[in-house]
Structures are given as structure tokens and as C-alpha cells.
Amino acid sequence: MTATTVPVYTKKDFQTDQEIRWCPGCGDYAILSAVQSIFPELGIPREKFVIVSGIGCSSRFPYYMNTFGFHSIHGRAPSVATGIKLTRPDLHVWVATGDGDSLSIGGNHTIHMLRRNVGIKVLLFNNRIYGLTKGQYSPTSEFGKKAKSTPFGSLDRPFDPLSLAIGAGATFVARSVDIFQQHLKETLKKAAAHQGSAFIEILQNCNIFNDGAWENLTEKDARSEHVVQLQQGQPLVFGKNHEKGIRMKGLDLEVVTLGNGVTEKDLLIHDEQNPNSAYAYLLSQMELREGFPAPIGVLRAEQAPRYEDLVASQIQDVVSKRGRGDLGALLQAGDTWVVK
């Protein structure tokens, strides 16, 4: 793709004339804005983008993107997207989905897409609630959640979406936050650059049914204490004054305070390309434990062939070995006889 053939786009080129039907204050706006901001920078002709979604507030995303868009049915966006990719590997297919859409009804398609490494970018809007159906708990809601269908508190242990994706064999796993615009855009660009399936959990606020679900991580004061930003080749440092770090302790991790002989050199250096996915898994589990921060950024970025490329080249292989199929010969194949 040469830069000269691609028009110069602005954010506006990716906006549609449709009224946006999200609640005022919804975190979805910020995600939409981030996507509309980075698409012009990718050097891809607009008509090559396809946004596929399931059903949910988040799944209305395609209507607001001036690209090709397919608002499919609940939970099935990964499969629709896989069909698109297998037919047209040249298209840039992004899936917009919610925690219910992709992890509840669509959980199976999500993990299968990830293991196959289909070249799809998945934006998982995680608001820990079913927004569109007005506030039932979701597979990412915290244990004990009081919601529409659980007036006495939910009893399900939530999924950790990052751990689940890693366990399923995802090659690219990242996380960002709706209101961390700069971080979100950078993360999206990294996802766009990744060859295979890119799974991006975006922590999103649903101010109507689950307001403040991520407050702990997003509030100005709490942020630096509760979030560690992963950067390739950099040590894991966090805290208001970058005074804390994470280092290995046996098989495990521990939080340490820098100083008193502890320096950045002692800390874990982030390597998103670590060939062993157990490393990314370890990071994904970190925040579940007292005192540890939640990681944001790219946990894992493994190079692996894209499914659609493998499919296409298998076809090319066979064609080059056997020649393009000849319909006449195909119909006549096997034992035949002639009746005069």
C-alpha cells in the first residue's frame, strides 16, 4: 500500500450523519472519538475498514463510523468478522463489542477467533454491566454485584478478560481506559499494527447503570497508585512519584518501594514479546491481589501467522501444485461411462 494512493483523512471523514444514541456522559463517546482520531493516521483507504458488532450499547458503534459497518446479532460479531476476513484478507476488520456481547453469549466465538489468530481488532467495551438491556450484571461484574437481576447480590465469580484471552491463546492482549484518551489512542494504534487477532479491553463507564465501576483506576488521585502502565522494555513502575515498582519473587511478583537499595534495575522489565504467555498471564492476574496495581497497555504481542493468510496461501499452494481447478474435469472426475 503506497501512501500516495490513500487520501488524507481527518477525524471528520470517519463520522456519520447518524444521531448518536448513547446516554450523555457514556464512556462510549470517548472510545468513538479515539477510534475516529486514529483511523486517519493508519494510511488505509476508508473503504477498506469494516466495523462489525453484536448487540449492546457498545455494539451501536458501527453506525457512527463512516466506514463499512455491520451491526449483527448478539455475540456473533467474531464469526461474522471471520467470514469477512477469510473472504477478503485485505480488509481491516474491527469488532466493537461489550462485556456481555463478547464474554457472555459470544464467549465461545471470542476464544475461537483468538486461538485461530484471525486478523481482527477487538474493542471490548467493558462496563461490567449489560447496558442496553438496562442493567443486569455481566460476566465481568464483581462478585456480589447488586443489579437488576441480582437484588441480593450476584454469586458469579467474574472473568478476567485478559486472563481468559491469554488462556485462549491470544497473540495480542492489551488494555486501556475510555477516558485515558492518549493512552487509548496509542494502544489502538499498536493493535492496528499487530498482524493477527488483537484483543483490547477498554474499561468503560456506564454512567446510567454502573457509574463509577472503574473509579478506583480512573479517579485522578487514585490513578497513579492503582494503575501500572506497561511499556515495552521499561521497568514496571507506578505510584504518584514513580516510587513503586514490581519485581520477581520466586515464581511470583511483589510490589517494592524504590530507594533503600532497590533500584529500577531490580524491577521487572516489560517484554510484551516474551515467548512464554505465562508472563502475560502473570501480569493479567496481578490486580486481583491486595496491593498490586492494574496493568494497562500491551500485555502481550506475539508474532504468529494470521489465519486468513494461512487459508489463502493454502489455496494458492494447492492451485500452484495442481493448477487452477477445471470445472469440466471436476464434473467428469472418477469413473464415468458413455451412453450413446
Partner: protein, 628 residues
């Protein structure tokens, strides 16, 4: 029609016009291979034929037991063949269980070849038999040939240095050799097949060949049979023929459709009996650019196909009843977004998991109505194995032309059954024009072709056509989400009208047999064979009856109502509890009568004939009554 001649070996050689042979044995005995080899040979010889493979749902049920019996029936003739035959002329039974399960279908005085080596005490017990039928005279009504198949095969293979198990695996070829002798057939085609099949393992090829030759020679030498049979070639329409099963025909039909349309074929599928073979066949056609995607389930299969269709492929999905049930939500989506898609439901016995390897026609109403809300979809059904090819082509054509999903109904019997199929010349194949929209000027995703009501196929990647589609109700023309009452009603009607528009191309129903008369049989799908055979036989007896076989079940041929009215009675035989008959009664308000068989097996010709006679008799009675 039997002509007696005498062969050069001084044994009788009867020239007859047809025969029905059935190979049966344990699932592990290779009966499916034996049957299909025999089929292939008689087909190559030029007989018309029909086959009926019948096997258990288990991979290998316990050896020697009744549920483990596998059978393969071939009806071949010098005349037209419509069914695999109601009753069997010659039965090859490899063990007591097979004999027990199949004997009822053997004609009186029919030939029965049994492997005596497997009629030991334990074998009989496994088949729940208390005495040995070879000895207890219970087979006196038949021509019994008790052969030491195992022993004779081992003897024949002695020199090859194989272990006993491997030798025993060849005994079906001994039996096959015997049958080739019995029906005066050449072993050449099977020799070729063995060479091909055991390419890396010439010893196994040789073993099977020897076993087969030994069987043939055994008959030649021992004068086991006092008579052999010859069935001259059938007078089929001129052309090049091959033997074809329904699933193969579907696969070839779709490759052909894709080639004629000039767009890639995409199959999204999840394995299920008896549909899996379509996936298997198509996955081998990579050099035709066919993309086969074995999905994680049926829902992913159909939705991936919808994605492929959206992107410009000829997209299909194949399944059977339980899988079809899982696809219904997505079919509603396909209807709503108006994208071409072909769905094959290879029906099997139900409900639920039911009888996975048995045939049935009970998914018609599911195909017509099994979706939430109003989501009409054209439904086509294939009549014979070879017809599957044409139905695949036609369904693809309609899907693309009208931009909608189309359902094809086949069934387990068509899927696995085989018949000679005249290979079409390429120039005789219909064109399938495809128009991808490319013009952004005034582009509206839900504008419509005035004749077909099709919306434009605007695939992603086309500059200037960026647009959004989805499962929510959409505004006419623009396709934007819209919940207005009258727009919704309009869209529901437009989607229905588009399906109805297909009727403009459907050929008029032209009854076979009498164009009017006492009885019209209306049927669909795989009942074609027995109904056609029954019609012929009954008309030969002077009855005035006709037969309309519906390929298009939705919409129905425009003239159907008028045709129905030309007959005094209407009979609708179905392998279900009366599904098409319900549709016809509702639409035409005629007292069509169902005749229903739900046994996991096709109708017999005789059953249809008996029903015809019964209906005509009750009719004459009534008229007589009216006169009194």
C-alpha cells in the same frame, strides 16, 4: 421379464431386467465399501440404479450385535430405476445379526449368501438367536448359500504373509467377487479402485484383489450357483454418466455455481451426520478457490457465511436438523440484511438427536417458519441424488439474483444414496450473473431492483459505498435504523414480496402421468423415486392419476392451485406427520390427504401403490354411496 439362456460353462444364465442386492454385515465388515463398489461396477456397465446405504449411528457398535448391523442395497436394471427396491433378490449376510435384521426384506425364494464361519454359538448369542438358522430350516423358503467366507478368504491369501485379522478384513471382497460372478460383472473397476485406494500399501491392494478373484473363481469352480444373471444396460439418455450421491452432487453444484458466478465459494460448516460429507468434499476443492471454514458450532458456521456473503462470496452453510435449529436466529439476520446465502439442511430422523443416520423429511416447517417474526425465505428441495446438483445451482442463482437466503432441503437418503448422473456439458449450465455495486452516485443500500426487489450488493472495499447494515428494522431505501410503524409494515411487506417475486421464474407445475383425473399425488424431496415408480405401475393398471413433484416449496409454482383442482383427490405422501399437506390445505382450501411414514426409511413403492388403491377405492365407495 426373464429370458433363459445357457452360459459357456453350461450353467444357466438368465437375462433379467432388474435385480436388488443387499450386502449386510457388521459395521466393521466393510459393507459400505462393498456396496459402493458393486454400485460403481453396475453403473459403469450402464445399468440404471438406485442405492440405499443404511448404517448405525455408532462408529463401531459392538461386533456382531443387532445395533451394529450395516447394510447397503443396490437396485440395478435395464429399465428406469426409481427406488432402491422394496424387496431384495439377493442378500449377502456376513453374520447372524445381519441376517436377522435383513431377512424380512428378502423375496420368497431369494438368494441368501451367509458366512457360515460367523454362525458360531457366540455369534448367535450376540444376535440374540437361540438356534442356528442355517441348520434349523428357518431359511427353507429361500435359496440358501452357506459359504465359509472366512476360511476361504484365508486360504486365498495364505501366501501373502498377512496376520489373520488383516486377512479376515478381506472377506467382504470374497463376497463381492461372488456377486460379480452371480451377476456376470467385470472386476476391473474395483481392481482400479483398490490400486488407487491402497497406493502406499500394495500388499493390501493385492490381498483384496486376491480375495475378490477367489470369490469369483469359487463360483466358477464349485458350481455353487446353478444359475447366473445378466441385466443388460439401461437405455439412458445419451451422454457421459457418473455415479453420484446427493452430498457429492451438492458439493459439485456449489463449485459449479461459484465458477459460473465468478465469485469465490465460502462454506461455513460444523460437522453433523448426514451433512458432513459436503464439508469433506468441498474442503478438497481448494484449487477451485473454495474456502471451507470448519467453525466452532453451527451459529459460527452460518454467521461466518453471512460475513463472507457480505464480502462478496457465494456463501453457503450445511447442516442437519439439530444444527438447523441453531441457525435460525442468524437466518433471520440474513433475511433482514438481505444478503445471498444458501443453507443446506440434510434432514435426518428426529426430534432432538433422534436417529442421526436415518432419513426423514420433517424439517419442512422448520425451514418455512422456524425463525422469530416474519422472515420468509425461499425453500427448495432436491428429488434425487443427481438432482441435488441442479438444486444447488438454482438455489445459488436465486440467492444472488434476489439477494436473500435460500434453504435447500435434502435428506439422509439422498445424501448417501447414489444414482447414475448424466454429466452436463458446460455450455448447458445456467449463467449466474453477479453485479457488485460500484457507483456511489445516489447509492442507497436498500434501494431495489424493480423486477426482483433485490437491493444492491455493495461489498466492503468499494470506494464511496461505505454504509451500515444490521438486524434492527431499517428505513426503506436508506437502510438507516428506523422504528416507525408504517415503515416497519412496508419493510415486512417488501421482504415478503421479494420472496414471492421468485415465483415469477418458477416453472409451472406440470403433472407427470395424467394431466387430470381421479388422484393427484403431490410430493417433494426424496419421495420422488417411490412415487414415480408407483405412478407408473398404477397407471399401467389403467388408473387416471398424476404426480406433481415440488422442487420449490416456497414460493409455490403459480399454477399449482389450478392444477390441484383438476383431480378428484389429492394425496401427499411425506416422511413426516403431514407438513406439506398442511401448507397446501391452508393455501388452496382443498381436502388434500397426507400419507405419513416416519420410520427413518424411505417409502416403498408398494406402500404408495397400496395407498393409491385405498384412496381410489374409498372414493368409488363414496361415489357409490352417493348414488345409492
Amino acid at each position: 421379464m426373464v429370458t433363459r439362456t445357457t452360459d459357456f460353462r453350461e450353467r444357466k444364465r438368465e437375462v433379467i431386467d432388474k435385480a436388488v442386492i443387499r450386502f449386510c454385515g457388521d459395521s466393521g465388515d466393510g459393507m459400505q465399501i462393498t456396496g459402493s463398489q458393486f454400485t460403481n461396477t453396475v453403473a459403469l456397465y450402464g445399468n440404471d440404479l438406485a442405492t440405499f446405504p443404511d448404517f448405525p449411528a455408532e462408529i463401531r457398535a459392538p461386533a456382531g450385535t443387532l445395533p451394529g448391523v450395516s447394510g447397503y442395497q443396490v437396485h440395478f436394471a435395464s429399465t428406469d430405476v426409481y427406488t432402491p427396491g422394496d424387496a431384495v433378490d439377493a442378500l449377502v449376510a456376513m453374520n447372524p445379526a445381519a441376517l436377522k435384521v435383513n431377512l424380512a426384506d428378502l423375496k420368497p425364494n431369494g438368494i441368501v449368501i451367509v458366512n457360515v464361519d460367523s454362525f458360531k454359538e457366540t455369534d448367535l448369542r450376540k444376535a440374540q438367536m437361540t438356534s442356528n438358522p442355517i441348520e434349523d430350516h428357518s431359511l427353507d423358503a429361500y435359496r440358501l448359500f452357506p459359504i465359509e467366507l472366512t476360511k476361504l478368504t484365508r486360504t486365498a491369501l495364505q501366501e501373502l504373509g498377512l496376520d489373520a485379522k488383516t486377512m479376515d478384513r478381506c472377506k467382504n471382497f470374497f463376497a463381492l467377487g461372488m456377486c460379480y460372478w452371480l451377476y456376470n460383472r467385470s472386476m476391473d473397476a474395483t481392481f482400479r479402485w483398490l490400486d488407487d485406494k491402497f497406493q502406499g500399501k500394495p500388499l493390501l491392494a493385492e490381498a483384496n484383489k486376491r480375495a475378490m478373484r477367489a470369490g469369483y473363481s469359487y463360483c466358477e469352480a464349485t458350481e455353487a450357483f446353478q444359475v447366473s444373471y445378466e441385466i443388460p444396460p439401461a437405455r439412458l439418455a445419451p451422454g457421459t454418466y457418473r455415479n453420484i450421491s446427493g452430498n457429492t452432487a451438492l458439493a459439485l453444484g456449489f463449485v459449479t455455481a461459484s465458477q459460473k458466478a465468478g465469485i469465490p465459494l465460502f462454506l461455513g460448516s460444523y460437522p453433523i451426520t448426514p451433512a458432513s460429507d459436503i464439508l469433506h468434499e468441498l474442503s478438497a476443492f481448494k484449487n477451485f478457490g473454495v474456502i471451507t471454514f470448519q467453525a466452532e458450532d453451527e451459529i459460527a458456521a452460518v454467521t461466518s457465511a453471512i460475513g463472507a456473503s457480505y464480502s462478496g462470496a457465494l456463501a453457503i452453510t450445511t447442516t442437519s436438523g439439530p444444527g438447523m435449529a441453531l441457525k435460525t436466529e442468524a437466518l433471520g439476520l440474513a433475511a433482514a440484511v438481505e444478503l445471498p446465502l444458501v443453507v443446506c439442511d440434510i434432514q435426518r430422523g428426529g426430534p432432538s438427536t433422534g436417529l442421526p443416520t436415518k432419513t426423514e423429511q420433517a424439517d419442512l416447517l422448520q425451514a418455512l417458519f422456524g425463525r422469530n417474526s416474519e422472515a420468509p425465505i425461499p425453500v427448495l428441495a432436491a428429488a434425487t441424488p443427481g438432482d441435488c446438483f441442479w438444486v444447488a445451482l438454482e438455489a445459488s442463482r436465486i440467492a444472488i439474483k434476489y439477494m436473500l437466503p435460500v434453504i435447500i432441503l435434502s435428506d439422509g437418503y439422498l445424501a448417501n444414496g447414489a444414482e447414475p448422473w448424466r454429466i452436463p456439458a458446460l455450455q448447458d449450465l445456467p449463467e449466474i450473473p453477479v453485479h457488485f455495486e460500484t457507483n456511489p452516485d445516489g447509492f442507497l443500500p436498500y434501494s431495489r431492483d424493480p423486477q426482483t426487489l433485490a437491493r444492491p450488493w455493495a461489498v466492503p472495499g468499494t470506494p464511496g459505498l461505505e454504509h451500515r447494515i444490521g438486524g434492527l428494522e431499517k428505513q426503506d431505501l436508506s437502510g438507516n435504523v428506523n422504528y416507525e410503524p408504517l415503515n416497519h409494515e412496508r419493510m415486512v411487506h417488501l421482504r415478503a414480496a421479494k420472496v414471492e417475486a421468485v415465483a415469477q421464474e418458477i416453472p409451472d407445475a406440470v403433472p407427470a402421468g395424467d394431466p387430470d383425473g381421479d388422484l393427484l399425488i403431490v410430493a417433494w424431496g426424496s419421495t420422488y423415486g417411490p412415487v414415480t415408480a408407483a405412478l407408473k405401475a398404477q397407471r399401467a393398471q389403467g388408473r387416471r392419476i398424476g404426480h406433481v413433484h415440488l422442487r420449490y416449496l416456497n414460493p409455490l409454482p403459480k399454477n399449482l392451485g389450478e392444477v390441484l383442482k383438476r383431480y378428484r383427490r389429492i394425496l401427499v405422501p411425506e416422511m413426516n406427520m403431514g407438513q406439506l399437506v398442511m401448507v397446501l390445505r391452508a393455501k388452496y382450501l382443498l381436502d388434500a390427504q397426507g400419507y405419513n411414514k416416519i420410520q427413518g426409511r424411505p417409502f416403498k413403492q408398494a406402500e404408495i401403490e397400496a395407498k393409491i388403491e385405498e384412496m381410489l377405492a374409498s372414493y368409488s365407495e363414496q361415489s357409490a354411496g352417493a348414488r345409492r
